[in-house]
Symmetry: C2
Subunit: 183 residues, 2 copies
Amino acid sequence: MARKSRTKYAILGMLDQKEMCGYDMIQKIKGFINNFWSESHGQLYPTLAKLLKEELITCITPEEMRPTIKSPKVYKITSKGRKVLHEWLELPIETLQSPRNELLLKLYFSGKHDTKGSIAHLEYRKVWAQKRIAYIDTKIAELKAKKKTGPSQELTLLVLEHGLMMRKTEIEWCNKAVKVLKK
Amino acid sequence: MARKSRTKYAILGMLDQKEMCGYDMIQKIKGFINNFWSESHGQLYPTLAKLLKEELITCITPEEMRPTIKSPKVYKITSKGRKVLHEWLELPIETLQSPRNELLLKLYFSGKHDTKGSIAHLEYRKVWAQKRIAYIDTKIAELKAKKKTGPSQELTLLVLEHGLMMRKTEIEWCNKAVKVLKK
DNA sequence: GGAATCATGTAAGTAGTTACATGATTGA
DNA sequence: TCAATCATGTAACTACTTACATGATTCC
């Protein structure tokens, strides 16, 4: 029954790349990972505790070192955790349906009544998308400036590219929609 | 505190267009509205009860007519409901962040280890997107075949167009990603 | 008569957000 | 010394899905 949380796998995935503490994960989630995923820290910390209990991760900051000066709980993925992660990675992707889109919901329900309002929503969305594009562009430039290339860099680039293409298409569609509404 | 459910507005929006019963709403949600929104009937029915209590909708199938032969509960939006709906429609859209994307999550975490698996995910996504495109194409054709045009038809077309453009971009990106992974 | 679909609801459980709460460290 | 940020956690609450449950109607 019920949906399955993927917080678990997001954590395992991050720890598979590098050992780190909860706070570091939150930074990552608010940073690059935010391009395609989100987690709240109210969900993260309890899940970390659960993963420890399941022995999918270990805390490599020993109990006796804490809470002496500046020692966050650094977590590391276990081989069992790695196995669980890779099994999940190979599983087919479950969420194929297009996600909820509040813009389309509002547009569809208000278009007839209030074209001005709808156009405002669309213009605002365009501004947002443009900001995203500018941000992603600088990120891509930064990444390309680093001479060092590698498989992980290529993946990062792909993710950024995804955001870029989606936002551009969104803007294109918004322009079309505005045209229709103004007509 | 906490997130706000938009089930309420989805219902009001549907009833603003046409009076109908809960079952009809579920059909709509599983049909056209599914292009941009989702609701489960386990969420819908309790929300209908709540809206009745708030007097944003009324049930126009009188109590005494039920449960005689074939009489579903037909709901109608009230003027108060309409007001609440329109106020919400004008409010800025809250959910601007890009939604969770399980494909990108898996790709980002597995790319280095398992390019074959990643490519499989991408190819599967392409198949799905192509099916969606085919479906939307027929819907658009159907709609255009009807000579009758109007504002609501234009909106429907816009929504379908949105899905079309997004899926096409997705395929384009998948192709790019596959190329990078195969390299 | 039996299957599909019409039609409405409730129950149980998970997922998730936000606010509350606390305290250490760093650097201006 | 004060603000920002590092760092971890819990509490309260909402949202949501899926399964359970039931019964009528329609059409073959």
